[in-house]
Each structure stands twice: as C-alpha cells, then as structure tokens.
Point group: C2
C-alpha cells in the first residue's frame, strides 16, 4: 500500500535533536512543560527534516481531529456560498480544518453524517438539507455536537442558530403596507424548509392583522432558485384570470432577483412603480446597481459566531448543548424596489445602500 513515502516522524526528529520522542511531542504542544532550550533544539531538527506532526496519529490518541464538518445544501443560492465562506474563514483562523459535504436539494444529510462519523469530526454544521433525528442522536451519543444553521428540526434536540425568519417576514409585510400595497404575491422555497415556511408565515400573519383578505395573497412555488422564480413570475403575471398584485415577496434574494428580471425584462413592468418587490437575505448580489433590492439582512457573521459558540469546540468536555434555538433579528434594508413611504424616511438605516454587514 501507500506510495513510497519518506516522511520524518517524531522519532527521527528526536534522534537528530538528541532528545526523547516525547520531548518532540511537547515541543509541538503549546503550553506543555518543556525548557525553551530543548524546544529550540527540537524545532531546529524538525526544520531540517521538514517534519510536520501527523495529525492523524494525534487524533487517534486525543480523540479530537480538529476537523469540523460543514454540510451544504443549495450552492446555487449565493447566501449559502457566503455562509460557507464565513465559516471557512473563521474556522481557519482558529486553526481548524473544514470538511465539506454537499447534499442535493431535497435529499437528506444522513449519508453525509455516516461519513463524517468515521472521521471523528469535532463538530458539524448543517445548512440546508434535512436530517433525521436518528442521525442527530447518533452524533450526540458519540459526543459530536451539531448545530443547525438557519433551520430547525421539529422534535429533535439539535441546537441551532437562525435568523428570526417570521419576524423578518413581518418586516417585509409592514414595508409593503406602508408603501400602500393592497394585494400580494409570494415566491416560496421548499415548503418543507422551515426557513421558507417561517418567512411566509410571518409575512401572511402581518398582512392579515391589517385586514388584508386571504384571497389577496397568492403564493407560488419558486424552488429557491433564480430560474424557477423567473419562470413562476412570468406565469403568474401573464395569467389572464388574475389581476396584477401590488407587491411581490421573494422568500430569498436570489428568487427576488429572478422575479425582478422577469418583471422588467420579460414583462416590461417597472419596479417599484408598477409593482413592488422585496427579498430576504441581503446577499451582495442584490445590492448591485440593476437590483438595489429592498430586503431583510441576515447578520451572517453574527450568526456564524453564535453557531460556533454553540459548538464550543474549545471545551470538548462540556456537555453538548441541546435544544438551543437562537433566533437572531434581521434588519430591514430599504433600497429601491419598494417606494420608501414618508413615515420611514427617518431616522436611520434608510437606503441602507451598499454598506455591508457591520
């Protein structure tokens, strides 16, 4: 087996440095008791041999791999790409490795879990994708914490961080109402995804509170993708049996962008004059000149921090946090796809333009 490899081990280094092998181990373990002088001798020998400690071997004894698994669903939604990036950057800063698994839309992450169980990962982050409660307990039994990012699994004791999606949906509803909208359409994502369902629920609830009739709120499936949203918008707006809604809520920015393009460049409508539009997420793509999308910002960096803190990777002995549900407020960002009503012109956050998340 194994390609002829000639890798120096701690024994080789020990021999060259004239110390014991444990001294080598200590030299590479911050905080272990070793004389600075010996340390230098070891480091010097290690340098000569281009020695790199074998993490695999160390994982075997410590039972900590320093690897965090990241399970990703939809990479077609830029929001999750930015999420991946944020996690990756943060974890790298901490000197941890990131193992990724991509899961097809609609598929569950169970198989991915089985794989990462084999690698003794220190924690798992799950975005998109479903997860059976059976897998959750399998991880927990083995001491592997899981944190759900922007979703939760009813009946599971897995912890999670999410944007307060329902409240965010309400914010959009309020913005539309303030701008005078009376009839509404929603472009939804996967109905099984709590993210989509919660945004829809908050949105509808708020509308009903204002006396909007259910029949004035229509809902179409947009598959969480640009293309599906584009097509659904065309179908919806060309349906002769329907009158044109005043406002369209894309459950996420990428769908709102698809809708916007369909409205303007296929249907020849003006936004916001003929029809207002809003999204959710505040992806950088939605801030571009042609879109200037009014949306709800998910504080992605904050969410990432929270998620990692729930994992508490530095305190492996602390029991796993179960059943935590940490909702984080989103913020309405006014741009150009809803006319800003006078009442909102003051005092802050207006035309939240292009500045990025603080």
């Amino acid at each position: 087996m194994a390609r002829p490899t000639n890798r120096a081990t701690s024994f080789d280094v020990a021999a060259l440095a004239g110390v014991s092998q444990s001294a080598v181990s200590r030299a590479f373990t911050p905080g272990s008791s070793i004389a600075e002088e010996t340390r230098q001798k070891v480091l010097e020998a290690a340098r000569k041999l281009a020695y790199v400690p074998n993490s695999i071997a160390s994982s075997l004894t410590t039972k900590r791999s320093n690897i965090v698994a990241l399970i990703l669903g939809d990479m077609n939604n830029p929001f999750y790409v930015h999420t991946l990036h944020a996690f990756s950057r943060r974890l790298q800063e901490q000197g941890r490795q990131v193992l990724i698994f991509t899961v097809d839309r609609g598929a569950d992450a169970d198989e991915a879990i089985l794989h990462l169980l084999a690698y003794q990962v220190d924690g798992v982050i799950l975005t998109a994708a479903q997860l059976s409660t059976r897998m959750t307990s399998l991880c927990h039994e083995r001491g592997i914490p899981i944190v759900l990012f922007n979703r939760y699994i009813p009946g599971s004791d897995a912890s999670g961080v999410r944007c307060d999606n329902a409240a965010g949906g309400r914010l959009i509803a309020e913005a539309f109402l303030a701008a005078g909208a009376k009839s509404f359409a929603m472009l939804t994502g996967d109905p099984k995804a709590t993210t989509s369902a919660d945004r829809v629920r908050g949105f509808v609830e708020r509308l009903l509170e204002d006396g909007i009739k259910r029949s004035d709120i229509i809902s179409v499936e947009g598959n969480s993708s640009y293309d599906a949203a584009f097509n659904a918008t065309v179908t919806l707006l060309t349906d002769k049996n329907r009158s044109r809604p005043d406002a369209l809520f894309g459950i996420n920015d990428i769908m709102a962008m698809g809708a916007l393009d369909a409205l303007r460049y296929r249907l020849g409508l003006r936004v916001p004059e003929d029809l207002m539009v809003a999204g959710f997420d505040d992806i950088p793509e939605g801030r571009r000149t042609p879109y200037q999308l009014t949306t709800v910002r998910q504080p992605i960096n904050q969410m990432v921090e929270e998620a990692l803190s729930i994992l508490h990777l530095d305190e492996p002995n602390r029991p796993i946090e179960r059943g935590i549900d940490r909702p984080i407020s989103g913020k309405l960002i006014w741009r150009n796809t809803i006319p800003v009503p006078p009442a909102y012109r003051w005092p802050d956050g207006l035309k939240g333009g292009s500045e990025s998340e603080p």
Copy 2:
C-alpha cells in the same frame, strides 16, 4: 480531553459476533478473504452496536486518508463556486472526503499546504492562489500529488489542467473583429494570475495579427470582481481624453457582467449597439436574461475529470505525474452582447443560448 464518548470499536463488534477482531476488519474491507457467513454475522453485530469503522485509525495504518484537499481562492467569482461544487460532487460519488481551504486574494497557499500535509491527504487540488515551488516539492516528496486547476506555476513541476486561455482570448478577438470592432478595451484580473495573462495575450495577439494598432487596445485592471469591473468601466468610459472603444473584453464573466451593468444602467449605453462586450467562463449567471453574455465556455466537468485523473487516486503506487500541462479548448458561445456577423450565422453553436455544458 475527549468528551465522554462511547463508541463501539471493532473489538466490541468482534466480541458480540463471536469472531476475532481481524474478522471484523475483513468484513469491512471489500475484496478481503472472508466467508460470506462470517461477514453477515459481523455486519449484524455491527448494526446492533451502530458501529462505524474509525477512518482515522485506518488512515494511520494504511497511510491513505481518503481525503482530498481543495484550495480555493476567490469565492466571489461564481466560476470557482461551480468548480468547487463539481469537484465536491464527483469526489463524494467516489466515497472520498473533501477538505477545503480558502485563501485570501493575492495570498499564497503555502500555509494551507502545511496544514493539509499534517492530515496525510491523498491529493491536492489548487484553484486560484499562488503556490511556492518549495511547497510543491514538499508534497511530492511525501507522495502527495497536486493538480493545479486553471493555472500553472512557471518553473514548477506541478501538473495542471486548464482551459486553453490564450486560444479562448483569440476566439473573443475574432468575434469582435468579425462584428466590425476597430478599437478595444480589456478588463483584466490579477496580472500575476496566468489565467488572466493568457487570455489577454491571446486576445491582443489576434488583434495585432489583424493590423489593429496597440494604441487602439487599452487595458484596465478589474480585480476579477464585479464591483471593481463596474467602477473601472465607469472611469474608463467617462474619461474625456479617450474615445469610446467599440468592444470591451471582460477577462471573466463576472467582470463582464459588472461592465455590462455599468454601461447600461450607469452610463446609459446600449450593448451591443453602442459597444460590444464579451466575457470568459460561461457561468450560469451570465446566461440570465438581462445579460445574455457572449463568452467562451470552459468545459468545467471535463476539466474536473481530467484533474482527478491526473491525481490517479485509485493507484496510489503509481508515481506522481509531474509537469503535465493539459490545456482544454474552450468554445465560443454567441449570445447577445456581440452582434452576430452573417458569416457566423451558420452552422452551429449559434445563440448557444441557455443550454448548459454537455
């Protein structure tokens, strides 16, 4: 150390199944000599204990981790996100794990290499980012193959797969010339990146062959990003000392998209009537209705296959392939940002519209 974990080992399974521990190992090793009956007994016991073989331990003996490292530069360029996705999907199909490292723009990947060396990865794929030849040999010495994706390192013996960027640049030049352009601008990426430099070179060369004067080809730095390209375009076109070029080549699609938006929505120009534009990559985003970008398609799936074949992960004993440079032809995709000249109306690939890579 180690959170109180109670994970079944092969010994537990062996005890329950009433066989030796080696039998358990064999039961999980395809192709090893074990009676079907024993295998079943073992599998049954394993199921009862929810046993998952410990890959860390097995890596230690076999010296193969079944992990492939993927080093990513710019995640703001969707092309690399699609690349990541393609690699991840393919590798997962093969039952391998993907360890990712993100490297900041302009930074080199040396530190990432040091980390992945510690994990005994079976292979390394490098996209974007620079890599010192020292690190290359460090990997090679240890029997870890590296493949460069869409870049090469002069003076290094690392193998790579890339789109034939120079030829692609020529294709764009030809398209512009055929459409009657006489003066040109280029939006370039990082000048140190071979990808950008090669496209520029091919483009310019072809133009010069047709008698275009050097002074009719201007070049501005677009930083490989949408925003920088947008701004650079505005600056360029509002420069009173310059006359407007007939054609603008964005060295990659995301920059061409930024340029397109600047031209249309900031400068009020029509594309292709006032100015033609082309990109490079053929990312799905450039196929969207508002863009319909004429571009050169990089056959990403084919490139991924080639890259993996150079790694020859299944034949670890074969010596590492060095110095391979596998250029793969791109294909010109006509859409709407260059008027299609009559000579090109036939026979194929025209208005290559929205179909994706075969």
